[in-house]
């Protein structure tokens, strides 16, 4: 519980390792770094978005990463992917090329690639996916993401759970969902863990305060009475005058007057009194109005943990987090003031060196005593639970960190993809459209979901051709077949045109050598010259007018590689959005619809394209969340994050 001592080890020059990571060690310390270096991450999908994510994991030094994808480098992706090298990467496996170029960022990181279809691998070797510390699925089909989520969600202790992050982007918009079954975080890094116990002092602290005299006439002494002592004495004085009750927030002013009455007339050097008044809010009024929270009292979130079934019923499979929560509950029960263990941290304050060190020792000694008591209780808890390792099962450093953060623990209990889809929290959706402070971003989630349904029907993303869409997904043939087959409305799509037009060449695309040829051919056919695309799209629109649905489909089939008609795709996407809107319980006559409709248009405009600033930004957000989950430090988002680059806003929703 003491701060780092002036030991030889900590005063020696830093190693090459700590020099390289210095700027991040100041955020998550060597304990966080060690967790990061032990981790083993799977990234599904080799594309510009995943390369931005991996970059931000390799730089801080994760243990190892594996890229899973069977596709070759797509020339369009190479135009927006910084971890492909034009003149070298084309025609090669995208996973292999990216792994190799990304590994150059940090030679401490082990890099792997697996050239296999994710869908096929999920079907044949599900165990493979369970062997990682974290899985990140990038631009994968929703059916695949759902199956993967089901698989990882079904892992039960003692096997460690595998959190899943699912990400996609389209133009200036992107989203990520996080599946975490349960994550107990100890080092949440609150702004301050200072707990002065002013409203709830322990005997040694009372005795320390008693050794001071506020009425001293020596001005130097008076100016250096620590504010902690001033407040302790004034609280005592108030209680003595008011039948033993402490001041209430209503008597704020009177209490301030009482403090000021002890200032020495003419002494201009009394910052210690200013400090005392400045500390009132945090260390006196807040604890007094909340059952001593901030002064040893147990905050309501921690009380919730005490009531949790996992705290109640322990077993040999219980995680360290729950074993320690249970020990904390027992500690509080045994404490005469029903207090949490003391953190022992003291802020700087005006005082003489010796006084400050003396006061610091009062807090530190009490903290050490509490830590010892806690460790003893924890040992018993571990023995009773039958944990392997018995009373010494948990590492000393881990216990220390827990005790220091006992008032700031955080438990995240997320939802699975299936729960989100089948039972979305409609109240969260209603709130999402009512944010009074920040721009609304939730409409984009609806657009992404509608776009998924669109894909199932039309075998392409709205606003994009089939080739472009398929290259985005790196979709294998089986899944492709499934999505075709599941096309309920129009038989035309699966008709004769398909076999000739695309069946064989698409198969060929998977065999590496033909891909580039096909791309060239497609490009020429589509007439990619700037400007002409737009005109052609308008023409197509005109052609479509007045046609029946069936004919439309045929036409779409013939001119397959042309840019699809914008207006038509907006209309079709809006149709798909209807069921999404209904399932999320959104009223269709409010302002929400305007936002949603704009988002659908933007979705068709961008056609799921990768815009480098958007992928880079999401790459930052996803890596950051992965790091928080892997280090179990700071607090990850729970559970849907949406980025809107047009408005420059990020929204988080618990769907």
């Amino acid at each position: 519980m003491t701060d780092t001592p002036n030991s030889v080890a900590s005063s020696s020059r830093p190693s090459a390792h700590s020099q390289r990571y210095d700027r991040q060690l100041r955020l998550w310390a060597s304990s966080g770094q060690a967790s990061l270096e032990k981790s083993n991450i799977l990234i599904i999908g080799a594309n510009s978005l995943s390369s931005q994510i991996i970059k931000n994991l390799v730089l801080p030094g994760v243990g190892s990463f594996t890229i899973l994808d069977d596709a070759n480098v797509d020339p369009a992706d190479m135009g927006v992917n910084f971890f492909l090298q034009p003149g070298q990467s084309q025609g090669r496996s995208a996973a292999q090329e990216m792994a190799s170029l990304l590994s150059q960022l940090n030679e401490n990181v082990e890099h792997n690639f697996k050239i296999e279809s994710p869908q096929a691998l999920l079907a044949s070797k599900p165990g493979y996916f369970r062997s990682f510390s974290l899985v990140i699925s990038v631009n994968q089909p929703p059916e695949f993401d759902l199956a993967l989520s089901d698989l990882l969600w079904s892992i039960e202790p003692p096997r460690p759970q595998v959190p899943l992050l699912k990400i996609r982007s389209s133009g200036m918009v992107a989203e990520m969902t996080i599946d975490i079954k349960e994550l107990g975080i100890v080092e949440t890094h609150p702004d301050s863990i200072i707990d002065l116990r002013l409203t709830n002092p322990f005997p040694e602290l009372v005795a320390f305060a008693e050794s001071f005299n506020l009425a001293t006439t020596d001005s130097l002494t008076h100016s250096h009475i620590p504010f902690v002592v001033i407040l302790l004495k004034k609280l005592e004085e108030w209680k003595a005058k008011n039948g033993g009750s402490p001041p209430s927030t209503k008597s704020r002013e009177e209490f301030v007057t009482l403090i000021n009455s002890s200032r020495q007339p003419g002494n201009l050097d009394e910052e210690n009194f200013d400090e005392a008044i400045a500390a009132l809010g945090k260390h006196v009024w807040r604890p007094l109005s909340s059952d001593h929270v901030g002064a040893g009292g147990v905050p309501s979130e921690i009380r919730e943990l005490f009531k949790d079934a996992r705290c109640e019923v322990l077993s040999s499979h219980s995680t360290n987090f729950w074993l320690m929560v249970r020990a904390l509950r027992d500690f509080v029960d045994n404490s005469p003031t029903k207090s949490l263990p003391l953190t022992g941290s003291l802020p700087d304050m005006k005082s003489l060196s010796a006084t400050y060190v003396g006061l610091q020792n009062v807090y530190r000694n009490k903290a050490t005593e509490d830590l010892e008591t806690f460790t003893r209780i924890l040992g018993q808890v571990c023995v009773n639970a039958g944990v392997r390792g018995g009373s010494g099962a948990i590492d000393e450093d881990e216990i220390q960190a827990f005790v220091k953060h006992a008032g700031y623990l955080k438990l995240i209990r997320g939802r699975s993809e299936r729960e989100r889809r089948e039972r979305p929290r409609t109240d969260a959706v209603t709130m999402a459209f009512l944010d009074p402070v920040n721009p609304c971003t939730f409409q984009h989630h609806i657009a992404f979901r509608a776009s998924d349904l669109f894909y199932l029907k039309h075998a392409r993303y709205p606003g994009s051709s089939r080739t472009f869409s398929r290259n985005l997904r790196n979709q294998d043939l089986d899944a492709q077949g499934r999505s075709r087959g599941s096309k309920p409305d129009h038989g035309a799509d699966g008709g004769g045109g398909e076999g000739e037009g695309e069946g064989d060449p698409r198969k060929a695309k998977r065999s590496k050598s033909n891909e580039s040829d096909e791309m060239v051919a497609n490009g020429e056919a589509a007439g990619v010259g700037a400007g002409s695309d737009v005109e052609m799209a308008v023409e197509t629109c005109v052609n479509h007018e007045g046609h029946g649905e069936e004919e439309e489909e045929e036409e779409e089939e013939e001119k397959e590689e042309e840019e699809p008609c914008f207006e038509e795709d907006v209309r079709l996407l809006a149709k798909e959005a209807e069921s999404v809107i209904k399932s999320l319980g959104i009223s269709t006559d409010g302002e929400e619809m305007e936002k949603i409709h704009d988002s659908l248009k933007e979705m068709v405009r961008s056609g799921h394209c990768s815009l480098p600033p958007t992928t880079a930004l999401m790459g930052g957000v996803v890596a950051q969340e992965a790091i928080k989950i892997l280090t179990r430090q700071y607090v990850p988002a729970d559970d849907l994050v949406i980025y809107d680059g047009i408005q420059q806003a990020l929204g988080v929703f618990k769907l």
């Binding site: 005063s11 920040n438 472009f468 060239v520 990619v528 737009v534 405009r605 930052g620 957000v621 700071y634």
Partner: protein, 434 residues
């Protein structure tokens, strides 16, 4: 394998272009979205401007700068200039991804430019290894957009003031959007400044976190924290022992010496916690930095630049704050222009003082103003020095004024001129007696 190579060489039309290279970005440029401005000209016009005409300047090739450069190049900017005065240090490698171990010691601007040119064929990145102050108005006039990815307040103030002063109402080309990004640990901000039109960097100076400072009397007499002992070693002991020899915080021998002094002092006061890490952190004022936050802020800046170059979506008006330590959070808002901003505001600033105050008190007041961020101001009245920090002769001759009362030195309505090494302009302050 031979077949693979042959096939792929067909796909690549030339070293700097290949079929479908722009397919992703062109989707955004070929048609407007629902929020796109009417002025947007989809297709050839906007692509030609972005890829052949737009000239963009990046200030800083550090954590943000590396991200900004790579991302601009991928986004289609082809004429990029980069200024940075630093060389590469090993502690940069955890986030500055254009640099490798072998590059340590080389200029950041040059190495970054070389890397991006190699990875993104056809992009021209022109590096300048030096200070932004080396360049004149004509130099800055050639750019369409400027992006700042700096950790120095001083450099940003200079860049901001320079771009505001560049604005000539007769010449619309003289208005250069300034996009500014900054990060600290899990936090950061990105903003768009339209010089003279929106709030500028100077307008928001009071939003900066106040740098931790330790009172000199605490350091000298009543140390309590390990930081106090380190400050004592660097601020008081170093000059006492080494005289004019400059402390180099990058020199490990210097840090070692400070550490030893601080340790000895800490021991004599029973203070614990002096470490190498802390010593280095205090002396260099180290700000934690990670790749992910830099990626986020840099990307937001580049997206804004892309919007300016293409008008494909409305630009940010005008400030986005980001926090990533507790969940993920942004706050997007319009920062208001300050009418009395010394750089972009028209109104002069009034300071209420008392006649009996000494000039020294006025000096202290100026130093404490969060929106000024100055530490050694020099004051003059109608060209005559009231107090000058330098040269030594004038400092000496004006020093007695510090003890004089303001009533003796000034009259109601006088305008005092304030200069400071940290101020990229001279500041006029109107005196009002109360």
């Amino acid at each position: 394998m031979a077949d693979v190579q042959a096939a792929s060489s067909q796909a690549i039309a030339g070293p700097s272009d290949w079929k479908h290279r722009h397919k992703h970005i062109d989707k955004i440029l070929d048609r407007p979205g629902p929020s796109t401005d009417e002025a947007f000209q989809p297709g050839t016009t906007v692509k030609t401007f972005l890829r052949e005409q737009c000239k963009i300047l990046v200030i800083g090739a550090g954590g943000l700068g590396c991200e900004i450069l790579a991302n601009l190049a991928l986004s289609g900017f082809r004429d990029i200039h980069i200024i940075d005065m630093d060389t590469i240090d090993v502690s940069n490698l955890n986030r500055q991804f254009l640099f490798r171990d072998k590059d340590v010691g080389r200029p950041k601007a040059t190495v970054a430019a070389e890397f991006v040119e190699k990875r993104v064929p056809g992009v021209k990145v022109t590096p300048y290894h030096g200070k932004i102050q080396d360049k004149d108005d004509d130099y800055y006039m050639q750019f369409n957009i400027v992006i700042c990815g700096l950790d120095s307040v001083e450099a940003r103030r200079w860049m901001n003031a320079t771009l505001v002063n560049l604005v000539d109402e007769e010449n619309p080309e003289s208005l250069k959007p300034l996009i500014d990004g900054g990060t600290e640990g899990f936090k950061g901000q990105a903003r768009v400044i339209l010089p003279t039109i929106t709030s500028c960097y100077e307008c928001s100076l009071d939003m900066l976190n106040k740098q931790t400072t330790y009172p000199i009397c605490t350091i000298a007499n009543t140390p309590r924290l390990p930081e106090h002992c380190i400050e004592w070693a660097s601020v008081l002991e170093w000059p006492r022992v080494f005289g004019d020899k400059k402390l180099d915080s990058d020199n490990p021998d210097h840090i070692q010496w400070l550490l030893e002094q601080a340790l000895a002092r800490a021991e004599s006061f029973n203070i614990t916690g002096v470490t190498w890490n802390l010593t280095q952190g205090v002396v260099k004022n180290i700000i934690p930095a990670i790749a992910s936050t830099n990626a986020i802020i840099a990307a937001a800046c580049v997206l804004e630049a892309f919007k300016f170059a293409t008008t494909s979506a409305p630009y940010l008006n005008n400030y986005m704050m980001y926090t990533g330590n507790d969940s993920v959070y942004t706050y997007t808002f319009e920062h208001e222009k300050r009418p009395d901003c010394p750089v972009c505001g028209g109104e002069s600033r009034t300071l209420e003082v008392r006649k009996e105050w000494k000039l020294e008190k006025l000096m202290d007041l100026l130093k404490e103003m969060a929106d000024l961020q100055i530490s050694r101001p020099s004051l003059s009245l109608s060209g005559k020095p009231l107090y000058y920090q330098a040269p030594p002769q004038i400092e000496e001759s004006t020093r007695p004024n510090l003890e004089k009362e303001l009533g003796q030195l000034l009259e109601e309505g006088d305008e005092i001129t304030v200069t400071d090494a940290k101020l990229p302009f001279t500041l006029g302050i109107l005196v009002k007696f109360v």
